[in-house]
Amino acid sequence: MTVLRALLVCLVTLLASYSTIPAAMADDLKDAINALAEGSLKDREAKVDALLETGDDTVVPVLTYLAEGDLYFRKSDKQVFLADKTGRTFSLTDPISGDVIPDISKRDIKKVRVNNNLRRQIRDGLSLFALNSRDSAKRLAAAETIYKAQDASALPAIEARLAKEQDAQVIAFLQEARAGLTLTSDAPEEAKLSAIEILRDKGGRQALSILNEAAETSEGAVKDAASRAIVAIERMLAIWNGVQNIWYGLSLGSVLLLASIGLAITFGVMGVINMAHGEMVMLGAYTTFAVQQAVQTAAPGLIDYSLLFAIPAAFLVAGAIGFVLERGIIRFLYGRPLETLLATWGVSLILQQAVRTIFGPTNQEVSNPGWMSGAVELAGLSLTWNRIWIFFFALAMFGLLFALLKRTPMGLQMRAVTQNRNMASSLGVKTPWVDAFTFALGSGIAGIAGVALSQIGNVSPNLGQSYIIDSFMVVVFGGVGNLWGTLIGALTLGVANKFLEPFAGAVLGKILVLVFIILFIQKRPRGLFALKGRAVE
C-alpha cells in the first residue's frame, strides 16, 4: 500500500512539474477538489462523481487518499491536501502542484470524512482508470471489480478496453463483466444467450444471482437457457461446498492438533494430567506479542517475519517454564496422576493471573503478517492463507515431534523412561533429567502452538482455558500415549464438527461431537489407537 502511495505522489509531482494541465482547467479541478472539504457525507458523493467524470489522472491520488482516510483540509483556508503521517506530524502534498509542506500539526488540519458508500464509489470509479494501467495485475484487479460492480455505465469503457486488451485473463473478466451487463440490458436474444453461456462457465454465486434475475425477468429461449445454467452452476456450487467443508474440517482439525500436540506429550506420554497446558499455549501467544513489539521497535522492516523469531522464543519461554514446573512441583507427584491435576490447576490459575498482572486483562494485538493475510481462490474454493499455513505448520510440527521421539537417542530415552522408569534408570538413563526435558519439550511445543493460534484468535489471559478441554478430548479420543491417535483424532473431530455444523448449527454440532466421544469411549475404552493384549494391564 505504501509503495503504491509513494508512486502516486511521484506521479503527481511529475504531472505538476511538466504542467501538462492548462491553467484554467487546473483551477476548475482545484475548486472541485477543494469542494470535498465542505458539506455532508451525502453531498460528497456527487462531488466524487464529478471528479471521476473529469477523467483526469490527477484525481486518482486524491480519491485514493480519500478512500483511505488520508485526505485532509487545512482549517485556515479549506485547502485540500494529501496527508502522510510522519511521526507525530503530517506532511501535506498539494494534489495539483505536488508541492510538499512538511511538519504540519494535527490541530491545523481536519480529515475529509469518508464512509463505506464513498469508498465503494471510489473503488468502482477508479477501476475504470486502472483499466488503462500498464500493469496487467492492476488491470486484472480492475476488471474483477468491474465484474462485481455490474454497473451499466461502465459498458463503454469495457468495450474500449476489450478492443485493445492483450492479456487473456483480463479479457476473460471483461467479457464476463460485459455478459452480466448484457443480460440485464435490452440486448438482442442472441447476445443474451451467449452471455448466459459465458456466465455459466464462469460459475459462482454472483453469476448465479445475475442468471436468477435474468430467468425471472425474461421469457422463451433466454429463460430456458438461464434456468439450465442455474442448475449447472448450483450443482458445481454444491460439489465445491462439500470440498470446502472438508477443508474447513481439516483446518479446524489442524487447530485442534496444534492445541493438543503438546498435551499428547505431557499427558499422553508422561501421564501428567496437565491442566496448565492451556496456559503454556497462552504463554506462547504472549511471547509472539512481545516479540512483535520488540521487532517493531528494533527492526520495523522485519515485522513481517516476527513470527519466525517468535517460534523459537515461544518454545524457549514455555519450555523453560515447563522445566521449572516439572522440577519444582510435578516430580514430587509421579505415580499420583490425579494429583497432578490439582497441582497443575493451581499453576494454571497463577499463570493466568500473572499474565493478567503483567500485560493487563485486555486482548493484545498480534497482527497477521502479509504472507498470512487474505485468501487464495482456487477453482470454487476460497482458502485463507493463515489457515493454509497453520494446517501445514501443524503437520510439520507433528512430523518433527514424531521423528524426534522415534528416531533420536533423546526420544528413545524418553520412551524408555515413560515405559519403565526403574529399568531405564538401572540402564544408566538419568531419569530425572529425561522427565524434566520431556515435560519441557511438551510445554515448549504448546508454546509454539500458541504462536500459530495467536494468528486466528484472541491473545488474552483466557486463551488457554478455551483450548484445554478440546485438547483433552482429542488426546483421549485418539488414545493416550499414541501420537498417531492424536493426529487422526484431531482431524476426525475437526471434520466431524464441520460436517455437523451446517445441519445442526455450531452449538448443537459441538454437543453432538461430545456425545459421540462419550459413546466412542464406550466402544473403545482406551481410545482410537489403543494397545491390545496383555501388555495393557
Binding site: 482516510g69 464512509n115 458508500n117 487447530v255 497477521n368 485463507t384 493463515n386 484468535g457 452449538v507
Partner: protein, 430 residues
C-alpha cells in the same frame, strides 16, 4: 458453636474495616462499592471499568468529596462467577455498608444481584448496553437500551447504505436473542422479506468462524446489498473479525455493524483490513468535545498509559457516577430511598458535548453515534442522531412488552405498568 461463627463474622468485619480504615483513619467516609470481575472470562472488559470508577472517585475527592466527607471505594472481585456476584453484592451492602454500587457487565450478573439490591434496598448503577425488558426500583441503567443502539444503527444502514438484506449474527444468550427479536420485528415492519433475513447464533467464545463467514459471504452475493448486524460477544469477536478480513469481506461490500465491539475490543485486533465496519454506541473515544478531551487526558494520567483507550461503558459510569453525586447532594444524604427518589430528573453533562438526564424509568437519555472502524483502532463518527434518544425499558416491537411502561415517580411507582389494564405488575388482560 454459633459464637465461633459470629466470632468469625466479627473477625471478617474487623479485618475488612481495618484494612479500609487505614486509608482514612478516624474520618467518616461514604463508601462506594465497585462490583466488577477482575478475574475470569469477563475480566477482559470489566477491569477497565473498575479503574474508571477509581479514577472518578479520586477526582471527586479532589473536588472535596461529597457532603463534606471523603468517598471511599470498596473493590471486590466477583470473578466472573454469577452467583458470586450476588454474594459479593450482599457483602458490599451488608458488611461494608456501601451507599451505592457501580458494577456488573453481563445480563446474568445483573439478574443475579437484582434480588439482593431489592431486599437490602440499595442502589446499583449498571453501565452496559443490554437487552432491556427490565426496570427495577433499585437499579439505574446508564447503558443503552435496544432503542438507543440497535434501531438507529439499522436505520442508518437502511437509509445511508441502502441495505436490503440482513444477517443477524449473535452469541446465543439473552441480549442477542432479544435484540434480534426486536430487530426482526422492526425490519419486517419496514417491509423486509423473511428470506432476506438470516439469523445465526454461536456459542460463547466461538473460535472457528470459517463456515459462518463463508455462509455470510454466500448470503451477501445474492445481488442485494447486504449487511451484518453483529451481537457477537466479547472473546468471539477477534476470531470473527480476523476471519472476515481473511476471507476478504470488505466493509464496502458487506458492512458489519456491531453493538458489542468498542475501542477496548479493537485494541486486540489489527484493524487495517477492517476499516469501514461499523459500531453503534453512545460514545466513542473520537468524540470531538472538550469534556471528552479532558476525560481522556485524566484517564491517561490516572492509568499512566498513553495508549489506554476509553469506551462507551466508561462514559456510562461517568454519567452514572455524576448523577449519583448530584442526587446525593440534592437529597442531602446517602439514604437509598432519598437518593432513588432524587435521581429521576437529574441531568449531567455527558462526554459527547451534551447533557444526559435520568428518566423516571431509570434509563437515561443519550445521543446515538455510529462510527466506522479506522486503521488506528478508533472509530470515525459517520452519523449522530439529531437529538437525544430516551432509553426505552420495554420495547415497542415485542408484543408482550409493547403495552408496558415504567415510571418510578409517585403516584405510579411501578416498573411494569400495563397500559391496557391500567395495573402495575404487568398483569395481562384477563
Amino acid at each position: 458453636m454459633s459464637s465461633r461463627i459470629s466470632h468469625f463474622a466479627a473477625a471478617l468485619a474487623l479485618t475488612t474495616s481495618l484494612i479500609s480504615a487505614s486509608a482514612a483513619f478516624a474520618e467518616e467516609t461514604i463508601k462506594v462499592g465497585v462490583l466488577h470481575s477482575l478475574s475470569g472470562t469477563m475480566a477482559i472488559s470489566e477491569t477497565t471499568l473498575k479503574d474508571a470508577m477509581l479514577m472518578l472517585i479520586e477526582e471527586q475527592n479532589e473536588k472535596g468529596g461529597l457532603l463534606g466527607k471523603k468517598l471511599e471505594p470498596v473493590v471486590v472481585d466477583p470473578a466472573s462467577d454469577w452467583p458470586l456476584f450476588a454474594e459479593k453484592a450482599r457483602e458490599l451492602i451488608d458488611v461494608n455498608d456501601v451507599s451505592a454500587v457501580f458494577g456488573c457487565w453481563t445480563s446474568v450478573s445483573r439478574k443475579s444481584v437484582l434480588p439482593v439490591f431489592e431486599e437490602l434496598n440499595s442502589i446499583l448503577f449498571y453501565p452496559v448496553q443490554y437487552e432491556g425488558e427490565e426496570s427495577q426500583r433499585n437499579v439505574f441503567y446508564t447503558g443503552a437500551a435496544p432503542n438507543q443502539q440497535a434501531i438507529p444503527a439499522v436505520d442508518y444502514l437502511m437509509e445511508q447504505e441502502g441495505v436490503e438484506r440482513w444477517v443477524l449474527a449473535g452469541t446465543d444468550y439473552v441480549y442477542p436473542r432479544t435484540t434480534n427479536k426486536i430487530l426482526e420485528a422492526y425490519l419486517k415492519a419496514k417491509g423486509v422479506a423473511a428470506e432476506d433475513i438470516m439469523i445465526n447464533y454461536t456459542p460463547f467464545g466461538h473460535s472457528d468462524w470459517q463456515t459462518i463467514v463463508s455462509d455470510i459471504k454466500a448470503f451477501g452475493e445474492a445481488g442485494k446489498k447486504t449487511a451484518v448486524v453483529s451481537t457477537v460477544n466479547g472473546d468471539a469477536n477477534v476470531p470473527f473479525y480476523k476471519e472476515l478480513a481473511n476471507q476478504g469481506i470488505k466493509a464496502e461490500d458487506i458492512p458489519v455493524v456491531a453493538f458489542s465491539v468498542g475501542e477496548e475490543e479493537l485494541a486486540g485486533l489489527d484493524t487495517e483490513p477492517l476499516v469501514g465496519h461499523l459500531a453503534a454506541w453512545n460514545y466513542f473515544q473520537s468524540v470531538d468535545s472538550d469534556a471528552n478531551y479532558e476525560f481522556i487526558d485524566a484517564w491517561h494520567a490516572f492509568t499512566k498509559d498513553e495508549n489506554r483507550v476509553t469506551n462507551d461503558p466508561m462514559e456510562a459510569h461517568y454519567i452514572g457516577f455524576n448523577m449519583w453525586v448530584k442526587a446525593v447532594e440534592k437529597a442531602g444524604s446517602t439514604d437509598p430511598d432519598a437518593v432513588i427518589d432524587a435521581l429521576p430528573g437529574i441531568s449531567v453533562p455527558n462526554l459527547s458535548g451534551g447533557y444526559s438526564a435520568m428518566m423516571p424509568n431509570h434509563h437515561i437519555t443519550k445521543p446515538v453515534l455510529i462510527g466506522e472502524i479506522q486503521d488506528d483502532g478508533q472509530f470515525d463518527i459517520v452519523y449522530e442522531t439529531p437529538g437525544l434518544v430516551p432509553g426505552d425499558a420495554w420495547s415497542d416491537y415485542l408484543p408482550d412488552s409493547a403495552k408496558l411502561i415504567s415510571d418510578w415517580r409517585a403516584p405510579l411507582s411501578c416498573g411494569n405498568f400495563n397500559t391496557e389494564t391500567n395495573e402495575c405488575g404487568g398483569k395481562g388482560a384477563e
